[in-house]
Amino acid sequence: MACGIRLVARVRSAGRLVTAVPVLLAPAGSRQAVAAALDAGADAVYVGLKGWSRGGARRELDWDELVAAQREAASAGGRLQVAINTIPKARERAQLFERIPGLLDLGIDEVIVNDVGMLAALRKRFPGLRLTAGIGCGAQTVADVAFFRDLGAHAVVLPGTVSPAEMREIRTVHGIAVEIMIHMVEEFVLLGKCWMPSYVHLKPSPLPSLFRSQTRDGDDAPEGALSGLRQTGSMKRGGVGACFRICQQSWELYVGGRRVDARLFPSRQISRIAEVKAYAEAGVDVLKLQGRSLPVELLAPLVRRYREAIDARTVPAADEVRSAALPATWAVVGR
């Protein structure tokens, strides 16, 4: 297929209508979560690479865990994608690139990025990589998708705020796979367009020492290990504990200098499970779930419910769809 999704979209013959079944792509923040997601019916799982994924170390896998997770995915017939969705500075970027061949050697060739420069640089240096423009790239329109196609992305992720009707227009762009983050938290500010946290608080944090297990002698300071500082507080650039969740805290609203209200920014949990078929018919290639930090006990039932919805021959009425909602406490912190 022309697009980058190597996962084989299953085709279901439901009597007369043949519709390509989208791939179910689940999040995982641990080796256990990878196994649970696959067991619950995910076709593919994405994980964060420690030190290089937006959102912080709590939801990332170190090299040993990555190796084990890849083994798990391969034995289950699924695939593993790796999020490298920070925006490294030039020196860090060179060190990261030294590690990409290791990923490829493991059989991991699908990478999620967050920046057009990173996407272009990885494409040029590693033509064997299949690159996804992650949700932080901010694509929402048919023109955005065409841009990322032209740039050489194999897939692009759109937020769950994009409707099936919009998706039908978007799918007029060929040559790139389209993913929808069908289950996610919609924050007040668009993803990839927010620097409120760093306006409040920006401090350098030490980069984790990575890939120690890749060294042959277990040296604590292996060649290529990262050192230095990263700016904590930048949602876009990533880093350790990047977001201070400014948008989830209470605000006092002043009009003309007078306090008139105390309020939260609006945010909501989007679950478009009842529209799985509509997205499939619109031509969406991948249904993606948000939440690399979800504990296994929440992740597995969530994945299972989407698996059931995808596999259903007919779309159940909204009140028949088993709830895919997560606890209200699972907000930005759980992305």
Binding site: I87, V116, W251, V255
Partner: protein, 321 residues
């Protein structure tokens, strides 16, 4: 090639024809027309092709560089209007279009190649490779992401020589939303859209604040680089923005007069800042002054050569007392 030190550009943003007509633009070299946040912002140039043409004509008659900006968070249904606006801009002789969205960049590049493209702050230019990508789509000038420090910006310019446009004064954009929470107050306040966001609206949390323009969030404090202009010019920067899209005509003209005089003085080899200039920027800063992220610190910090010169950093409550 960067212009000579005396050939800097000072520009700003104006959202509609009324504001344009009421503004004294003598100290600006260029103006971006349009509001990037909301399609139903009052008489937004980006929704009024006739107003846009008239606005461009007014700027051209005044000898200004006439630019047009574009939406930062478009959806599919924006795009037909965006195309019409780009068509009107090209026909009316706009010198460049500012683009914050990559899909609009592709449209401009593919369908209006005669329009030079300036990259806006929401396009997320963080690195030299990012600049190179956007250059391939016709971009000729770049506003780096506001989170970058001057050192990081200089790394980019050193690596690829891209001309940067820097916010030197005004409220820094911090985010954009699909949703206007001010609509929740239409009934309670008895004020309808699009008049809601014409009010002076601040959101306060503890000791810090942000300004709301409905779908847009701006810094509460005004970025102020007045005493750092010598460094900016010495490092080769020549394109400077005073962000006034949500400000009054008085703010727009008086702050520009300060920066015009200050830049002229720096270009002549003198970096001294007049006390009267400080008084002007302090008077217009509703919450206080900051340096944004230019010195690698929190965006609302101020790292001054003369920290005392900016006065006390007012909070809303103090301003009201």
């Amino acid at each position: 090639m960067s212009p000579a030190i005396s050939q800097f550009e000072l520009n700003t943003t104006i959202a509609n024809l009324r504001d344009l007509r009421e503004s004294d633009l003598r100290d600006y070299d260029g103006v971006y027309l349009g509001d990037i946040y909301c399609r139903i912002y009052e008489a937004n140039f980006l929704e009024q092709p006739d107003d846009l043409k008239e606005g461009l004509r007014i700027l051209q008659d005044q000898g200004k560089r006439a630019y047009v900006t574009t939406y930062a968070g478009p959806r599919n249904d924006f795009l037909p209007r965006v195309r019409k606006m780009l068509e009107a801009s090209a026909a009316a002789g706009a010198e460049a279009v500012e683009v914050h969205n990559l899909g609009i960049l592709k449209i401009a590049h593919d369908e209006f190649p005669q329009l030079p493209v300036h990259i806006g702050g929401f396009a997320n230019v963080y690195t030299a490779p990012g600049v190179e990508v956007l250059r391939e789509f016709g971009a000729v000038r770049f506003t780096p992401n506001y989170e970058l420090s001057l050192d990081e910006i200089n790394e980019i310019t050193t690596a690829c020589g891209a001309p940067m446009e820097l916010l030197v004064h005004g409220k820094m954009p911090l985010g954009i939303s699909d949703y206007c929470f001010l609509l929740d107050y239409e009934e309670k306040w008895g004020v309808k859209c699009p008049d809601l966001c014409q009010k002076e609206l601040f959101l306060k949390q503890g000791d810090w604040a942000m300004k709301s323009v409905g779908k847009g969030i701006l810094s509460g404090k005004d970025v102020c680089m007045l005493e750092h202009l010598p460094r900016l010019l010495a490092e080769g920067h020549r394109y400077f923005r005073i962000e006034t899209v949500s400000e009054t005509p008085a703010y727009r003209s008086e702050v520009a007069a300060v920066y015009r005089a200050a830049l002229n003085r720096v270009a002549a080899g003198d970096g001294e800042v007049d006390e009267g200039w400080w008084e002007t920027v302090r008077r217009h800063a509703r919450i206080g002054l900051c340096n944004g992220f230019y010195f690698g610190r929190s965006g609302m910090d101020y790292a001054g050569v003369r920290p005392d010169a900016i006065g006390s950093l007012l909070t809303i409550s103090r301003a009201e007392s």
